[in-house]
Symmetry: C2
Subunit: 386 residues, 2 copies
């Protein structure tokens, strides 16, 4: 029995991917750009095992067995096998895939990007694939291609009809801007979630603003934010990040029927960030929202304590909520009287936020070599099952 275990990171886009030009090949209407988050606090983990004794292909996700007849999964596998070392004895054995996320999927945090980047990394290790694997991860979930690299990553939409040049490339490694921090504010929301895949399809079909954004606005923004990252110009980085998040949600609203991902709490966070930046007379924090109500704040390490004191003041956590602040440990700071005066009128009810994750920019996928790290036992079955 052969076994490979990998972990792969989550990424948070600052220039958003929204809309495909090819549904099957997962080709995007525009380039996108993201920061890869440290796997220390949030990651997907996948063990793939293969043996001639395996009678059928198997797939477990978070301890629950899934159907293997999943088009995205099969597309990835087909592409991996096409590029595999064709002399491997195990190339045609069945496989068992066992995947987990170490962050709650129910939180509405995009898990498919880390999941498919992890799957494809493990498959690439198993079948000894050389070179870029981001185009393979892309077939699983578009934004997964960006989780194949660490640091700051651009997904270039490419021009080839086969999608071979629709790949991710690293703009700068995590070490380039070590002061960068990320706060993820997980928002309480009772509404039914709807999939970003169907939402973006509807946007392509119905929003005239989307076409204009994709062709006229995004190319300039990619150029400008790349320059901001290279120059570690937080002021410009924050401005473009916030503008692009707003425009992505504008396009969602221009969709028919509209896709509404942000809720009143999300908009209250936007308002707090603008008020904080106004108070500081410069952009100290940038918000960005994906296809859900949770906020992701980009900020430098020097600002984290104070910003968190404001967040806790405006969105008071439920009393005695254990584990409310996850990720990089932090000594909590009380809000200053001056900031209290600014934010008093903005205070929300208890419990508007579920919890907060404090993390940083990190590296790409890793292969784990310690046998204890494998998610499956010697039979190829998950060690943990639901």
């Amino acid at each position: 029995m052969q076994k490979v275990t990998c972990i792969a990171p989550v990424n948070i886009a600052v220039i958003k991917y929204w809309g495909k030009s090819d549904e099957d090949l997962v080709l995007p209407l525009n380039d996108s750009l993201s920061g890869t988050l440290s796997t220390d606090f949030m990651c997907a983990k996948t063990t793939i095992s293969t043996s001639p004794a395996l009678e059928v292909n198997k797939f477990w996700l978070n301890g629950i067995e899934q159907s293997f007849e999943n088009e995205r999964l099969l597309n990835c596998l087909k592409e991996v096998k096409r590029r595999a070392n064709q002399t491997l004895p195990h190339l045609n054995w069945n496989i068992s895939i066992c995947s987990e996320n170490n962050f709650p999927t129910a939180a509405g945090l995009a898990s498919s990007a880390a999941g498919y980047a992890c799957l494809v990394s493990a498959l690439a290790a198993l079948y000894e694939i050389e070179g870029d694997i981001s185009a393979i991860a892309r077939r699983g979930s578009g934004s997964a291609c960006r989780s194949v690299y660490g640091g700051w990553v651009q997904w270039c939409k490419g021009a080839s009809p086969t999608g071979e040049d629709s790949i991710a490339k690293q703009i700068a490694p995590a070490s380039h801007w070590p002061q960068m921090r990320v706060l993820i504010l997980v928002v309480n929301d009772e509404r039914k979630k709807y999939s970003s895949t169907s939402g973006m399809k509807r946007s392509v079909e119905t929003s005239e603003l989307l076409q204009y954004r994709a062709t006229k606005i995004v190319p300039q923004r990619i150029e400008a934010i790349t320059k901001a990252i290279i120059n570690k110009d937080f002021q410009a980085f924050a401005q473009i990040t916030m503008e692009d998040s707003n425009q992505f949600h504008a396009v969602c609203l221009d969709t028919f029927p509209p896709c509404v991902y942000m809720n009143d709490t999300s908009h209250a966070i936007v308002d707090v960030v603008h008020a904080y930046n106004d108070f500081k007379k410069s952009n100290k924090v940038a918000y960005t929202f994906d296809a859900g109500p949770n906020a992701c704040l980009y900020l430098l390490d020097s600002e984290v304590e104070e910003v968190l004191s404001v967040i806790d003041y405006v969105f008071p956590p439920v009393v005695n909520s254990e584990g409310y602040l996850k990720g990089i440990p932090l000594s909590k700071k009380a809000i200053t009287e001056e900031l209290k005066a600014v934010f008093e009128a903005k205070r929300q009810n208890f419990g508007a936020l579920k919890y907060v994750i404090h993390t940083r920019i990190g590296d790409g996928p890793k292969t784990l070599t310690n046998p204890e790290d494998h998610l499956v036992d010697e039979m190829g079955l998950p060690k943990k099952m639901c």
Copy 2:
């Protein structure tokens, strides 16, 4: 003492006005189109009196004295006097203006359109102005120019730098589509209101999508919705109305910092309308939202009772709320079991809506001739004061 009293209607745009090309002349970036609501339930009322004995100009709004040094008011007055019958003995006497709205201004319903249309109608009557007065009302508040006519009204942006051709014109009178009804759902909202004047200025300065909308999208929509109104094609009318409301709010979100006018209750109303139309397999109701959280639903009289049964079910009024349903009287109908099943999962907490106004499309401003209708006494002072 000369006295003139007028009433003027509210109008609800189906193709939205958002963004000026000239702040002072109040010239819009795009044409807009609205339905004028009946003055039976919602209107502004203004009495203007003038006498050689008046020592200074005076202005009361809803019983509270206002400064006369209001640029918009002075612009209207100047334009009126330029076009007045210059032989009138009272042309240079001071005036007292007394205005009221018969609907709560706190409700966030746009009162300035009706207010300025009313002011200009009364001034036009007092100074015997001939011809179109919409360009004068426009100087008070852009959308006021559309309240100068009844029925369905287009504000043509015009091409002249003086604004002389930026005027309203009636597309069809109220009698053209007598089945049309309007339900205004007044939403409970604790957030601070911000002015549409400053919001639209910020959109012009920061939203790239606004320019595209104004130049490329709105002209087609004006043409298409005019055709739908002429043909009484509710299906097309509703589609364009909803798309344009969504796009207006999309542009507001694309503004920096974003202008957020709709709240979670507003979006829940959108969701209910789409679910109702899906259930009916055709557009039976259209929503539209102005610069605030309140919904305005356009629908035909045949649908009102059933739609209201759904609204009451999803947004249950606070028990014993007197006068919750205002406007055209209606026998309330219980929701059917079939509709209950569709909407059960969408039910909201009590009191999400403050009240509902049931009204119809109506005529333009009117001059009232009964002396009892005057808002001021023989001294030119308001009969009612706060």
